[in-house]
């Protein structure tokens, strides 16, 4: 089905591939996208993750067709679409604040795309009913958007985008306007719909947890470039740059130097094995995730001393704020049920065996 999302009898669509090839875009002298390439496989969810200004929204607008890129190509299902208007790209989009038409009912919103394409009235009614059911909003068909809650509005926005059977779905910060509990529900809902319809989807977000929970692959963006692209676990465990390391998850950055025997002497006072060989004398930063720091009540060569400043119980886990020698802060996450030394006395921190430790040159 190279020509787009075909509709099966159940009304399901099948995702198609999306390809972005060497796309660059400039706003005046400012380069918002710098030679970005990526390929999303049919049925795959990719997250574009990065801080504001990293180019992720610009890339989304280029893919959707709201912005003409300066260079490069966009293809959907193997067909170049970057000269086509937004409505003919086989792409559906859910906007950050849903962008529901305020004067139309939920049902009219859902059926809008088909009506705009000149579908027959009976067909519009049938598909509208079907997609209201898909997002479990049948009971709200005649409500206006302002009479719906945030989560309900988002369901309608999803149904509206899906109703025209797009091959690719773009989600622009879809959870940003929802409160925390609802956010998780909607993440599950979107994942459910994506699986059910085999949708290809791109999720734009600045929230790394959101990206990790919903996406099959994550593209971390910075300064208009893709800094790293891979499955969430890979990006989390093996960040290729210090930026990715800091942006994905929380971490402790421990400065040190590589000794003559190849081991790393941390400034805080411990000797640890490097994750990869490094030249002796090089100044490095070792990154250890908070959940990989172990606590002990006795010193050892691979442990450094610290004392506990603060302990925050967060339900299942406890977050500890430690102070190493020289004042450096060390964050530790441990299960509340975990056995360990008392926190009042002197502590020694080690690195959990088998933990993924990353190491970067100090000036990177």
């Amino acid at each position: 089905m190279a020509d787009g999302g075909a509709v099966t009898e159940a009304g399901a669509t099948h995702g198609v591939s999306l390809e972005v090839d060497a796309v660059s875009h400039e706003f005046g002298a400012y380069r918002a996208l710098d030679d970005v390439s990526l390929r999303v496989e049919p049925g795959e969810v990719m997250a574009l993750l990065g801080p504001s200004g990293c180019g992720k929204t610009t890339l989304l607008r280029v893919i959707a067709g709201f912005l003409a890129q300066s260079r490069g190509a966009v293809s959907v299902g193997g067909v170049r679409v970057d000269r086509l208007p937004p409505g003919r790209r086989n792409i559906g989009i859910v906007f950050q604040n849903y962008a529901l038409f305020p004067h139309l009912t939920a049902a009219q919103n859902v059926g809008y795309g088909l009506a705009a394409r000149g579908a027959a009235r009976a067909e519009i009614a049938r598909r509208t009913r079907q997609f209201l059911e898909v997002v479990r909003m049948e009971a709200y068909a005649e409500r206006l958007p302002r009479e719906l809650s945030g989560g309900q509005q988002q369901r309608i926005a999803l149904a509206r985008a899906l109703c025209v059977s797009p091959g690719v779905l773009l989600l622009d910060e879809p959870f940003a306007a929802l409160d925390k509990n609802l956010r998780l529900d909607m993440q599950i809902e979107i994942k459910r719909l994506q699986r059910r319809f085999g949708l290809t989807a791109i999720l734009v977000t600045h929230d790394q947890e959101e990206a990790m929970s919903v996406a099959d692959r994550v593209a971390v963006m910075r300064g208009g470039r893709i800094e790293q692209l891979g499955p969430p676990a890979d990006v989390y465990d093996r960040p290729e740059t210090l930026f990715v390391n800091n942006f994905i998850g929380s971490t402790n950055l421990l400065p040190g130097a590589v000794a003559a025997d190849g081991s790393v002497r941390l400034a805080a006072g411990a000797t640890v094995a490097p994750p990869r060989p490094a030249p002796a004398g090089a100044r490095v930063v070792v990154s250890v995730r908070p959940e990989d720091v172990t606590l002990h009540d006795a010193p050892a060569p691979d442990r450094f001393p610290a004392r506990c400043r603060l302990s925050l119980p967060l339900g299942a886990v406890t977050v500890l704020d430690l102070e190493a020698e020289g004042g450096a802060a060390v964050k530790v996450v441990r299960l509340r049920s975990a056995e360990g030394p008392t926190l009042d006395g002197p502590l020694w921190c080690g690195v959990r065996e088998g933990a993924r430790v990353s190491m970067f040159a100090e000036d990177s």
Binding site: G87, A116, A161
Partner: protein, 273 residues
């Protein structure tokens, strides 16, 4: 939740309430006086009115006595309808154009459209008359309508711009992405969203044209008499009570129109924005 009222709060409420009452009395009081006077049975514009009769209304309706007033009223309504109608089209289009333009060109156009609100209308009326004399055309209803168009255009621009603030770019993007043409988007999304603003603006423009004196003063002639000018002329020459009756008709019809508009588009909320 109960609020605790300090004495200062009560004083504040009393002062604001009193000022409100005074404003209401100043604004509405004279209108009530005119209404009361129009029902007098005496041939004088005196308050309180002597007796009660509908004779002045009968005189106002009678074509034999008040044909000139009818003609002037018809002229005024014609001019107001034309000015408001064209203003709705022109200012509505201008508001749409201005929506996406915040640069110098946009500001210049906005300023040009709004300037009739601050420039003295008398100077504009005089300037328009000099212009017409220079190009050697006689002031007709057409030119009166054109003059009124200039001074009522800002109302439509403001109310439409206010309603356009509800039309975010994502709505338009969304429509385009769902496969709608620009015309379809305009018809199904843009127009319904700005329609209340257009209607409110058209109403305000109509009313502003109806009782505009400065522009009409310069551009009307014996053959194109306008209602406010005609009423003023009657007061000047004979203190005619039909003027009070005409005012009564205007007050009542305006009130009815206002109520109808309010039902339709929530006018009061739109103006206050």
């Amino acid at each position: 939740m109960r609020r605790i009222h300090a004495p200062a709060d009560a004083l504040y409420a009393a002062v604001v309430g009193l000022l409100g009452l005074i404003a209401l009395a100043i604004l509405v009081g004279p209108v009530l006086v005119v209404l009361a006077v129009s029902f007098t049975s005496e041939p004088s514009l005196r308050f309180p009115p002597q007796g009660f009769s509908l004779r002045w209304y009968a005189a106002l309706i009678d074509p034999a006595q008040s044909g000139h007033i009818h003609e002037a009223a018809l002229n005024s309504v014609t001019v107001a309808l034309r000015a408001a109608g064209v203003a709705t089209l022109v200012s509505g289009a201008a508001a749409l154009w201005l929506r996406t333009r915040s640069g110098p060109a946009g500001r210049a156009v906005d300023l040009a459209f709004m300037s009739p609100l601050v420039l003295p209308m008398l100077s504009f009326g005089l300037a328009a008359l000099i212009l017409l004399t220079t190009i050697r055309v006689r002031p007709t209803l057409f030119w009166l309508s054109a003059g009124h168009l200039v001074v009522v255009a800002p109302y439509v621009l403001r109310t439409t711009a206010a309603s356009l603030s509800q039309l975010g770019q994502p709505l338009l993007d969304s429509s385009a992405s769902l496969g709608a043409s620009r015309l379809y988007t305009f018809r199904r999304i843009t127009l319904p969203i700005i329609a209340p603003g257009l209607a409110a603006g058209a109403f305000l423009a109509f009313m502003a044209s109806m009782d505009n004196v400065p522009v009409s003063l310069f551009l009307s002639s014996a053959r194109t008499d306008m209602l406010p000018i005609r009423l003023w002329g009657m007061i000047e020459s004979s203190l005619d009570v039909r003027v009070a009756a005409a005012s009564g008709v205007l007050v009542v019809s305006t009130t009815l129109l206002l109520l109808a508009m309010n039902r339709l588009v929530n006018l009061s909320r739109r103006i206050s924005r």
